[in-house]
């Protein structure tokens, strides 16, 4: 099962960061500089510089409470950053709301799953398609031709997206009644439905068994190759992170302590000290 996943060669870019060689001529999907946020007197994230290539699979790791999810919340504007800039496709996201950032191209999943539990699996995906398949409210209220046409398109697109994880048969089930792993997969499908340029996955493998995790790794690569998007993930499963992440960023107490490829991270003494402890665990 320990299949090697193909990873791109990482090369340096002007912003003192590295991106996969194939993305080096293109504008990075995300460039954060000096990003930081304070909650009262507490600095949760400080001086975060991050560059993610157009089709990179990036990892964000660190011990519990390091501020990883806070970084995701900053990128998606659940929190407005206190300092620094976030460039999405070269465009500053300053002052944007969560909704606007999503329309600009960032989609995410949540650590504690946030599905629309009372709705069906298909409706969850259709809600993800909200800005992709559109028609005015009136067409819905009066059931005008546009309604029927677009609802059909939405149904087909939803089914197509669900087929990534072979979930078509679950389409009419209530989202809250799905097993844990399927809920995580549905959240990824819902995020993909918004047609993002950058997909943020917050602990996608949490609660999955090794074989499910392996399938997930294959699927993450498949998603990147099918949709040509960048993916950044937070994960505690080191097999997953070291297996598929091209560039890895390590956070501790809100500060970046190391950046690089999986080999570099595994050798970095600071990481070993802060995150992997005495070296008994990990790899």
């Amino acid at each position: 099962m320990a299949k090697e996943f193909q990873k791109g060669k990482m090369v340096p870019v002007p912003s003192h960061s590295i991106v996969p060689e194939r993305d080096v001529d293109q504008m990075p999907v995300l460039e954060c500089s000096h990003l930081g946020i304070d909650f009262g007197g507490l600095t949760a994230v400080n001086e975060l510089n991050l560059t993610i290539g157009r089709t990179e699979i990036a990892g964000l790791i660190g011990p519990n409470g390091a501020g990883k999810t806070t970084v995701f919340n900053l990128l998606t504007k659940v929190y407005q950053p206190t300092r620094g800039t976030i460039l999405l496709n070269g465009k500053d996201t300053h002052g944007m709301s969560t909704t606007q950032v999503n329309r600009a191209g960032i989609a995410r999943t949540f650590q504690n799953i946030r599905l629309f539990t009372n709705l069906t699996v298909e409706d969850n995906v259709r809600i993800g398609l909200h800005n992709q398949v559109r028609y005015p409210m009136w067409d819905g209220v009066f059931r005008l031709p546009q309604f029927w046409k677009q609802e059909k398109v939405a149904h087909e697109k939803a089914m197509e997206l669900l087929s990534i994880f072979h979930m078509e048969d679950l389409a009419q089930h209530q989202a809250g009644s799905l097993p844990y792993g399927a809920q995580r997969r549905l959240e990824i499908v819902r995020a993909l439905a918004t047609n993002p340029r950058l997909l943020l996955l917050d602990e996608p493998a949490a609660g999955m068994n090794p074989s499910e995790t392996h399938d997930l790794m294959e699927n993450i690569i498949k998603i990147r190759d099918t949709f040509h998007i960048a993916i950044m993930l937070i994960e505690h499963d080191m097999n997953l992170v070291m297996g598929i992440c091209e560039g890895i960023c390590v956070l501790n107490f809100g500060e970046v302590i190391a950046k690089g490829t999986s080999e570099e991270i595994q050798r970095n003494p600071k990481v070993i000290e802060a995150y992997l402890g005495s070296g008994k665990k990990g790899g």
């Binding site: 709301s97 629309f116 539990t117 909200h130 409210m137």
Partner: protein, 359 residues
């Protein structure tokens, strides 16, 4: 076990059942009314029943489907009622035909209430939970008190507004329609049971179609999980406002229908108690359950009339019935007991109970 239906088909049957109940109830009541089997008090309740059914369904859109507790729904009803009344008087010459004038009055009531809903929605929808509830309560009272000191007259030059009887100067042949605390009077009763029935059907169509469309899914998504909904690009402000204004529009039409079924109407009729009454219909019928709202509103409007025999204890019995129904529909034990006895009804009830537990 029953054969599993696909949700789309089940929803279609569900909606058909809702429309069916309304249509059958209308036909039965209309036939009874023609055969003079209805008591005169019940006969007089027919249009208010329609108005309150519309109120309950529209409030359910905000409270049940959009998930925001609103305590000022009667305010929109009164905006619709008074603007509808003024419209009928002002349009007396322009549209001599009664039924057309009723349609115009309902439309004016709906638009004015929708406008009020939009203005009030701007500050109110910035709040959440209990705060939103309290502020809607305040706005409901403000609307009532504003109308309480408003004098509106109609003459050949158009519509005149004033804040006191003396300030209302009308030309020869002009007519004061709304007289502050005295309310509106001296207009013709245009509403009919059939008009009310048609309005109920339109309301049901609007709300049910809205819920099962792109906009409705966005509203449901915001209720279920606001952060997740925003993360997939749904604008909370826009869709909360859509639900709020649609609800106000329908309440306005209901208000016009209600006011035009009486010869006179006063603002104090649409006080806090009226808002709570409608909320009781919604909660009793089930949050988000449109058919429940229809049934609860119709039964509870009639109930005090049916309890006329125990006149002195009428409200006491009414309250006890409310408490019993609430206990019955909310206790999981009782629902499971019912599930064993009456499998069909019980299954629905216990399913809802389980859903309640999950939430």
């Amino acid at each position: 076990m029953m054969k599993q239906l696909s949700p789309a088909r089940k929803r279609l049957l569900d909606n058909a059942l809702t429309y069916g109940i309304v249509i059958v109830a209308y036909l039965v009541l209309q036939l009874m009314s023609n055969a003079e089997l209805l008591s005169s008090t019940l006969e007089g309740q027919l249009i208010p029943i329609c108005a309150y059914v519309i109120m309950a369904v529209s409030l359910n859109l905000v409270v049940g489907i959009s998930g925001e507790l609103s305590l000022g729904h009667a305010g929109f009803m009164s905006v619709g009622a008074f603007s509808g009344v003024v419209a009928t008087v002002a349009l007396q010459q322009v549209i001599p035909m009664d039924s057309l004038r009723l349609v115009a009055a309902l439309a004016v009531g709906a638009v004015m209430a929708g406008f009020a809903g939009f203005i009030i929605g701007i500050p109110v929808l910035r709040l959440r939970g209990d705060y939103l509830a309290i502020v809607t309560l305040a706005f409901g009272e403000i609307i009532k008190n504003v109308i309480n000191c408003l004098y509106i007259g109609v003459d050949e030059n158009g519509i005149h507004f004033a804040t006191s009887q003396a300030a209302l100067v009308l030309a020869e042949g002009g007519k004061a329609v709304v007289k502050g605390p005295m309310g509106a009077s001296g207009y013709s009763k245009l509403s009919s049971f059939t008009a009310g029935f048609i309005l109920v059907l339109i309301t049901l169509a609007i709300v049910l179609n809205l819920v099962h469309s792109r906009a409705g899914r966005a509203i449901l998504a915001l209720r279920d999980n606001r952060i997740a909904a925003e993360s997939v690009g749904i604008s909370a402000t826009k869709y909360k406002m859509m639900a709020f204004v649609t609800s106000a529009v329908l309440a306005g039409a209901a208000g016009a229908l209600y006011a035009l079924s009486f010869g006179s109407i006063a603002a104090k009729k649409f006080d806090f108690n009226a808002s709570i009454l409608v909320l009781v219909f919604v909660v009793l019928g089930g949050l988000g359950n449109i058919r429940g709202s229809v049934i609860a509103a119709a039964l509870l409007v009639v109930l005090p009339e049916l309890l006329r025999e125990f006149y002195d204890y009428r409200m006491l019995v009414y309250a006890i019935i409310l408490i019993l129904v609430m206990l019955l529909t909310n206790s999981i034990g009782i629902r499971q007991f019912l599930a064993q006895r009456f499998s069909r009804v019980g299954r629905i009830l216990s399913k809802r109970a389980m859903k309640g537990v999950e939430n």
